[in-house]
Symmetry: C2
Amino acid sequence: MAARIRGVLSPVVTPFKRDYAPDADRFIRHCKWLLSYGCAGLAIFGTNSEANSLSVEEKIDLLDRLLAAGVPAAKLMPGTGCSALPDSVKLTAHAVKVGCGGVLMLPPFYYKGVPDEGLFRNFAEVIQRVGDARLQLYLYHIPPVSQVPITLGLIERLLKAYPKSVAGLKDSSGDWSNTKTVLDNFAKSGFDVFPGSEVFLLDGLRNGGVGCITATGNVNPGPIDKVYQNWQSAQADQLQADITATRKVVQAVPMIPALKAIIAQFGADAGFVTVRPPLIELTADENAKLFAGLKTVHFTMPGLKEALSGLPV
Amino acid sequence: MAARIRGVLSPVVTPFKRDYAPDADRFIRHCKWLLSYGCAGLAIFGTNSEANSLSVEEKIDLLDRLLAAGVPAAKLMPGTGCSALPDSVKLTAHAVKVGCGGVLMLPPFYYKGVPDEGLFRNFAEVIQRVGDARLQLYLYHIPPVSQVPITLGLIERLLKAYPKSVAGLKDSSGDWSNTKTVLDNFAKSGFDVFPGSEVFLLDGLRNGGVGCITATGNVNPGPIDKVYQNWQSAQADQLQADITATRKVVQAVPMIPALKAIIAQFGADAGFVTVRPPLIELTADENAKLFAGLKTVHFTMPGLKEALSGLPV
């Protein structure tokens, strides 16, 4: 089996044209920049990718375009968990077929208060229908948005039933005590846990975690990777404090339009700011607050302007 | 313009085969039974239809099969609001093209805490891209499940921008004071308000409502329609009390599997019970509680056995 993806992953933002069509050229260039400047892998089609505002066909097309542009499939962990089971199966099967290193799966997220038995059946159906030994499935726990949690009992049951397919979990609960409990229960058995924010990167690594999958990875991949690379060094806590300070500036305004505004600004590419409904761009006040905040922390995006230069507006 | 759909609508449950494939034959027969026994219209692909567990292609196929079987398009109000804008556009455009009387649209439901401006853009994009004067769009307010509300301000803005397309709202908040406020603000201008439960049917009609769109319409359409037909009569309150009593029995256990269990039992069609993950069938205890409860109220399903007879198990 191929080596698992570990380290810093970015849930890559999805650029849109003015008519809200996905902008594959900007997407490819931003992905390549991320891989050159600190990301070990790309969790495309995550929450911060506006993935649930994209159709299955749009996601398959963007994935295929990315591979055609030379981005290695082994570094990709696309989000493939949809509200409808057949959509999750279709997207996951395609991702595995083209060789993606893993898939990050939301539970079905429309119906609330569903029992673990129903969620187990959902993941089990996907694994069985995809029916491919290469599948490396990472569970995606993000109750503040999905409102449907991945419980300890569900992880345990899935690991027992599908030990070779169930590879790990991204914990975007924002609740370190939950991450710690998951680490304590499952990390030793080879279950790869990624906190969903770099704020918990060092704590995670010190407790058996394998990296992080973080929105801010879109704009600050190098310094976050530096914590990952040097977590056992004497500077680790200071490096962590630096990336936490940057994170706090970014998350003080709506995250997804903030990431796009930062890329547009530091990449000198105004066309990057568009978000798809139901999201909206930052207001002028939010923009001012964001860029004033970034001046108070160590923040640069080396090479971004060059990566994005010459794109049509 | 064709007459608008008013009266009792059922968000029709979607039968599945054992392998979770949609069962079009059972679906068609149940739809025809509903139209013969009290439903003025069918809100197929609603929450209780497990619509968000179906792919766009599955929904289009079921709709086409229903029309091919002779169910009149004018009586259909399919749910067409998806998490992703292109899916909502595709499904809505198809529904309008085949002549559906209306569409019932959820807001995009993955991202939470989104601003009204983003929701306005979502609905506006759908209306403009569909670009068909026949579109009659009903907004679907169901915050307990979608977690994304349709506010008074959003209704007002959409009505102002698209007075000919925005036809009404289904209020599944379960909060009568919200329904009353919507009625007081918009009913007089021709905005058709349907409470999302027959518990509020009579109160709705007395305040300018035009019917109800209710899960229990799947199993109790006749008595609910009787309230609609006789709401100005002396027996209205007693008729309402009867249907409220039945509703309370059904909603005391998980609603969707309960509706399917009742249809399976009263239709002598065991194959009807299957639900798609993440839902699960009723437990034995829930089943016992449900059917014991139904014995305490006036409940029959005339003609259902005949309608469903001879289906393969």
